[in-house]
């Protein structure tokens, strides 16, 4: 059953290059880490997908990278503004893994913050483009932080159950190093609930809807066997 509400914005707090958008939880569920919500920025025709970053009591909080029209409109919201929120949607991370390691790149740290909260304690490696972006690492106490030109994949230790989210090249690199990894992908999404077929990506050799099958997929879902073997 789809849940949609238009809760009030509590605050938009700058956090380095990103902003933390806090809204009232209303009757919405938090869902599993890696699941996402569709937020409709004021004045836009289509909603945008956001992973839940934090679940403070009575609130939902999203980490927003203001890269385009919709995300910029979101970070300009004022406390008290109403924001349409649909979710939680999609399939999140499985948390029942023995040796979790959180691996994040840039805005991809968003779902890992909530994953860390739900896991209790888990080691994390986070990579960022600049020190300004890296300020968001403060959301994940104790994480190891690397800044380009160092990459998170240089720090991956074997034998870990990797939960990763970040830019596509990072996810592909992680998938090759850790075939059992759970990876949270992005695709342009118009609806987030399986209605538009806009978010199709190649999964297990066929174009399938990422919002239905994912956004969290296993490395085996996305990496062709020959690439893995190489």
């Amino acid at each position: 059953m789809l849940r949609r509400e238009a809760p009030s914005v509590v605050a938009v707090e700058p956090l380095g290059a990103y902003s933390l958008l806090r809204v009232e939880r209303a009757t919405l569920e938090c869902g599993d880490p890696g699941q996402f919500f569709m937020l409709t920025p004021p004045g836009r025709t289509l909603p945008r997908a956001f992973s839940l970053c934090l679940a403070p009591p009575g609130e939902l909080a999203f980490l927003v990278d203001p890269v385009g029209l919709g995300t910029r409109a979101l970070v300009e919201l004022q406390p008290g503004d109403r924001l349409p929120v649909l979710g939680p949607l999609g399939r999140g991370f499985r948390l029942d893994v023995p040796r979790p390691l959180l691996v994040g790149g840039g805005i991809g740290i968003a779902p890992l913050v909530y994953a860390a909260e739900r896991l209790g304690r888990a080691p994390a490696i986070l990579g960022f483009r600049t020190p300004e972006h890296a300020k968001a690492a403060s959301l994940l106490q104790g994480a190891e932080v690397v800044i380009e030109p160092t990459y998170v994949t240089e720090r991956l230790s074997p034998g870990r159950d990797v939960l990763a989210c970040g830019p596509e090249p990072m996810l592909h690199a992680v998938a090759c190093l850790a075939p059992s990894a759970q990876l949270a992908w992005e695709a342009p999404m118009a609806c987030g609930y399986g209605a538009c077929f806009g978010c199709a990506v190649e999964i297990r050799g066929r174009l399938r809807r990422l919002c239905v099958e994912g956004p969290v997929l296993t490395a085996a879902d996305v990496v062709p066997a020959e690439l893995e073997a190489a």
Binding site: T45, L46, A195, F197, L207, V212
Partner: protein, 296 residues
Amino acid sequence: MPPLLNASGCLDALAAPDVARSLDAFVTKTVTPLPRDGNAPVRIAEIDCGMLNTIGLANPGLDDFVCDTLPRLLELGVPVWVSVGGFRAGDYAESCARLDDEGVEAIELNVSCPNVESPVEATEEIVAAARAATAKPLFTKLSPQLPDVAAVALAAARAGTDGLSLVNTLRGLALDPRTLAPVLSTATGGVSGPVLRPVALAAVHACYAATGLPIVGMGGVETGRHALDLIAAGASACALGTILFRDPDAPARVRAELARTAFRLGLEDPLAARGLAHREAEMPLPSETKIPAKVD
């Protein structure tokens, strides 16, 4: 009350059964005789006041649809319209013949997808072939890009269509602001959403005047007011497309707004507004307003 449907390709009833049940009839994504993966990503882009899509008729193909998808759709308890597409008149005839024995309420002939090759035959031949293959109500879905949509609507009427679905998307292009390359994999895609609204109104207006047929009006409907405009132009039912993406609760909202807006204009039933936009002109009386959907 005029029936409220979804626009083809804008809702998967199996993924969101509650949304489907909030409609008077569910229209499937266009089904073709053979399965199609659809076009490569990127398939969607937002534009000012609307969006572009190039899904490319991704669908499981007729066999799989009839054997696997349709039985599950029929269990939902909502009348099901099946949208059929193809690349020649024979494709449409084959699909219609196959669906003739099934419990579907109506068949929509999509002869107007801008993202795949157009069928080789003219609309009239396609409708005639479909008509010969089924006794089900046929609704022919036309493109707003036709130079004379009313003439094609008349031809479809001659060939035996029971109604019209107006409109499909317009062809459009969006460029990435940083690279100035097309955003969509196929460069162009179909324009939908608010930007399509005046275009849809004009097509419904022209086709109602020309044919008086039942019309499912669609294109940028977001509120009850927009639906009422289409009805005044000649629609006897409305379909919601792009609005469902950001508001899956739109059917109930639009229905309530439509009743309120009509009532404020002194109309007991919004359907009483049908054709009001034509008051000055000489008009054939509507021959039939019945739409095969549940009506309360």
